[in-house]
Subunit: 111 residues, 2 copies
């Protein structure tokens, strides 16, 4: 399983980032067809009182990097990628990895 | 599901990092009891020809942050955490997140 990780830096206005991501970006990204998984999580520092290195971590999954790149190259994918500049005021770092599972996961689906 | 993400920076000797992680760190970390999931992946740049921001991304999963912190506070967890300094020559960034699944995953287990 190949994953595209997106690490969002701390936005200038976190509440507005959250609103835009929920109300605009998720509905837009849900138009993409073919994703095998999509996870999001707000980062919390491992050390008490420190700000975490990133604001949010997102994982997009497909069977291969070629599949993920094809999804992002579709019209719906292009619209989703282009939308990132509209809210990612703290920047966004992207990288792929070929995720290996050393201990098997059992993640709940939240729809 | 709570995840602890570890982002390893580029090591000074990638082959030695890989050897140590596989032969020493994984067997040590496998002594920890209670993890609900553990994934690793080598990072690849999203842009051709660029070096990715990190060398490797690791995810450790448990039902809650308290559970994860208890695992890391166990003698086996402490030994695993202490071992990171022995091979992470490019540094390591840690943060927690409470992972939400927007599109359900079906990840294969590789043992």
């Amino acid at each position: 399983m190949t994953r595209l990780t997106v690490l969002y830096g701390h936005p200038t206005d976190p509440a507005e980032f959250d609103r835009y991501y929920r109300d605009v970006h998720i509905p837009l990204a849900k138009q993409m067809r073919g994703l095998k998984g999509w996870t999001i999580g707000k980062c919390e520092s491992a050390a008490p009182g420190e700000r975490p290195s990133y604001y949010m971590i997102v994982g997009l999954y497909a069977d291969s990097r070629a599949d993920l790149e094809a999804i992002l190259a579709s019209p719906e994918g292009q619209a989703t990628v282009a939308d990132v500049d509209n809210f990612a005021t703290g920047g966004a770092t992207f990288f792929y990895d070929d995720e290996q599972v050393l201990v098997s996961l059992s993640l709940p689906s939240v729809g």
